[in-house]
Symmetry: C2
Subunit: 243 residues, 2 copies
DNA sequence: GGGTGATCATAACAAATGTTAAGTCATGGG
DNA sequence: CCCATGACTTAACATTTGTTATGATCACCC
């Protein structure tokens, strides 16, 4: 795979969110990476590990998740191409959750040492990544609002709109149709409800003509209704460098 | 107020979590700050603002919260002395939630400009703060698990144990008794349930001899039962510099 | 020292969500 | 081609949680 394809999604995103110039990005592209493929459901990082690399999602979907002693599992975030789901391990050793491939995935691993060196030489790169982790935190807080306060019906609409906005940034939305390769059980784990209830809500959304979800692909049927349900205010994504 | 008292809680925490040496902390203590007092329920930062300072909680409790259009409110985090609840605004302009004083509070405001200068001169200080925001994010993820997967009964136990661990770090736990100055309605907003239901759960915990909450003060009655309910694994707080 | 408003407490009932169970539908492997 | 498997779908029923309402209690102010 060419270096271009490895970095493309991340660079697209960073250009929009931080206004990064090509020079800064060239330093990144010069970092040594090692590519590794993962299959659907394969664990990338396990709770308790102490990785010596950060990973960049080149292609495919991953989730962070946490399993509590009684076996229940919460999906903490959905990660898409261009995401750096464990940048935090640059500053503390232990992963405190799992990172699992949702679909077949290609990941690029970047050694902490090389990354830290680059950041030391180019503080601007560090600021960019710091910001990235801060937006990641803002997304977690919005998920907390979603799970804590919105009805499951609205909650699912919000989750889908957020994912669409993020996918759009990296060119993964075509004809208002995009991938969300979660099973109903996994969607439930992201929303804090059971798979049975997720099924009910999906049925309602289908019957109400809002959207359809088939084999991991979302089709929006009524954009206006969807917006109304999601009450989506994307400011928390901080898409513009100045916000 | 002396500079010592202003920085005491933050320094205590940073020494434990990052192993920061006195030298690094002296640079911090040299930063110009402006003190401001807030009364109970006063808003410190409002959703949408673009502050030019970060604030340090010197004394008292604050919460971050987010209100959705239908009026429901989610408390995103509880902040205690030593916390820096809006460090994120160093790297993006807009606050995407409210910051509200839970009790009468003293806050120290530190200008972005001075802070950024210090970080440029002392990258180690920047790394320490970056880490701090990463732990803040890890706490948000744990709250997501709490709200999404634990029963309300266990959820409240977990919230209380987490708060106790964090308060202990800054010397605010005496005789296993500590402050949690949230009304039942606010506790409900933190857990994603109504105040009526919060009241039910508190009654159950009282009847079961686990703990009592009176006028904002927690008394642990049965430590063993509390642990059992909370299933608390504090690794996500990353209290040790090496984890 | 009596009003006033917030908070706490509790009950009855309604609505949302979980549990269990069963059957259907796709898909890939032998 | 058929079987095995996982995912999806639905229903009946149980449990949790929300809603609404009503008093009780507490803190504070005039």
């Amino acid at each position: 795979m060419t270096s271009d394809r490895i970095w493309a999604s991340l660079f697209e995103r960073l250009k929009t969110t931080t206004g990064a110039d090509d020079k800064k990005l060239l330093f990144l592209a010069a970092l040594p990476v090692s590519l590794r493929d993962f299959r659907e459901n394969q664990t990338v990082l396990r709770d308790g590990e102490e990785p010596s690399e950060c990973c960049l999602i080149v292609d495919g979907f991953c989730v962070r998740s946490k399993t509590i002693p009684d076996g229940r599992r919460q999906i903490l975030s959905i990660h898409i191409p261009g995401d750096l789901p464990n940048l935090q391990n640059l500053h503390y050793a232990t992963v405190d959750h799992d990172l699992v491939a949702l679909s077949d995935c290609t990941l690029a691993f970047i050694g902490h040492r090389a990354l830290k060196e680059l950041i030391r030489e180019r503080p601007g790169v560090g600021e960019m990544f710091w910001r990235d982790t801060l937006v990641d935190a803002a997304i977690s807080r919005e998920w907390l609002v979603n799970v804590g306060q919105r009805s499951t019906y609205n909650r699912l609409a919000h989750l889908i709109v957020e994912l669409r906005e993020r996918l759009r940034l990296v060119g993964r939305v075509i004809d208002n149709t995009f991938a969300i390769p979660l099973t109903q059980e996994q969607l439930g784990e992201a929303m804090g409800v059971t798979s049975v209830h997720t099924n009910r809500i999906l049925r309602d959304l289908r019957i109400d003509g809002v959207l359809e979800l088939q084999r991991g692909t979302v089709h929006i049927l009524n954009e206006h209704k969807l917006q109304e349900l999601a009450q989506f205010d994307g400011r928390y994504l901080h898409l513009s460098p100045s916000s």
